[in-house]
Symmetry: C2
Subunit: 200 residues, 2 copies
DNA sequence: TAGTTTTTTGACGTCAGCGTCAAATAACTA
DNA sequence: TAGTTATTTGACGCTGACGTCAAAAAACTA
């Protein structure tokens, strides 16, 4: 009858372009035109799929956090021992370096929360997944005897996620006093302190 | 001879206006006009004192971080015991709640780093003061016997600051899963774990 | 090829920001 | 009051973002 509907594919492509462009130049000065150019389209085409830039950014936010969490969970799932899993979770949770633009963007999104309930929800979902990842590793370690965490598990998990967030933020914010190596070691040290034997 | 030079006072007033306006509406959409209005002047007057909005924001960033650190240090200095000091430092380091606009702004400034070396430097200076505050308390506590911190002091301090940053960020970013009370308790729990007796 | 639906363009009008600058005003002193 | 310097205004031209929309182009099928 007619031309087939390919909205879903285009939408993903545009979300991808938004992620790339926002990673490159940051959210502060990002415009519809920038994203359209990156996608090789015009502003008009973009508006055919999204009401405005905010609507697109919500999708980009969602895609970015999901990608991050999915990737880490899949890396962790491939490992056997709780100690290995913990080390992998920490490594995958930290940015690769000061130039990890995607990770930087994820934290920049945090500041869109408070302006939009949708971003609010996404920030919370991200947090829940972060805590779920560490909590599962802690519980498995305790159950198998690999770990002997005596502290409150909720609090231990919270603190672990907090360390991850803070160090990631410092690294992508260009604070050269905090390196990826230092962050990883500090997180491992904390884990040891609460009863994880990770050196095995 | 002529009209006296009052640049210093005006500059402070404008920095103040910038802090207020940026706290209110965030950095993302802040314009020269907004700040000028808040200060009761026109854009032209503002440009008489600062080259552009960025120059003004650098000063606002500097003023904001200094105010935060100065205030906390003065609160801590008034207390006697390391345990009291630690509790006060934690309390003063966290936002008062999700609506603590100034604290929110301080974290938003982190994302101006990487775009400007000046902001970079300010972020680092803030970090150095945060660590100095906690390190002094830890050292005093260890010296007086109030604390028995066996872990590496550098790492313990780093982690303490990291917890403060992460929880503050979550609170001001509107993550309702993290409350000020939870953050304070989690930080105190961490301090206990590394050897601070704060319950005295 | 003609018909149908989806996708994309590009132009239009509007609005708000920016930096410049000559002129006006204010706050002094002699 | 006249002179001098400091401060402030407000208009100008430029740029770039936004949302709308009619028309064009593309991708199909019968």
């Amino acid at each position: 009858m007619a031309r087939p509907n390919t909205q879903e594919r285009r939408r993903s492509e545009l979300v991808e372009a938004a992620l790339k462009e926002a990673s490159t130049q940051g959210l502060r000065s990002l415009s519809l035109t920038d994203v359209a150019k990156r996608a090789g389209l015009t502003r008009g085409a973009l508006l055919y799929y999204f009401d405005d830039l905010d609507a697109l950014l919500v999708e980009a936010h969602r895609a970015g956090t999901e990608r991050f969490c999915d990737h880490r969970d899949s890396v962790v799932a491939e490992l056997e021992s709780p100690a290995e899993k913990l080390r992998a979770a920490i490594a995958a949770g930290l940015p690769s370096g000061p130039d990890d633009a995607l990770m930087r963007l994820l934290y920049e999104f945090d500041f869109m929360a408070g302006q939009s309930d949708l971003h609010d929800t996404l920030v919370q979902q991200m947090y829940l997944r972060q805590t779920a990842t560490y909590r599962a590793i802690f519980e498995e370690g305790n159950a198998s005897g690999a770990f002997t965490i005596s502290a409150d598990l909720d609090q231990a998990t919270m603190n672990m996620v907090a360390l991850e967030d803070a160090y990631s933020l410092h690294i992508v914010a260009g604070n050269r006093l905090v390196t990826v190596d230092m962050a990883r070691e500090a997180m491992l040290a904390f884990a040891e302190q609460i009863g994880c034997r990770t050196s095995a």
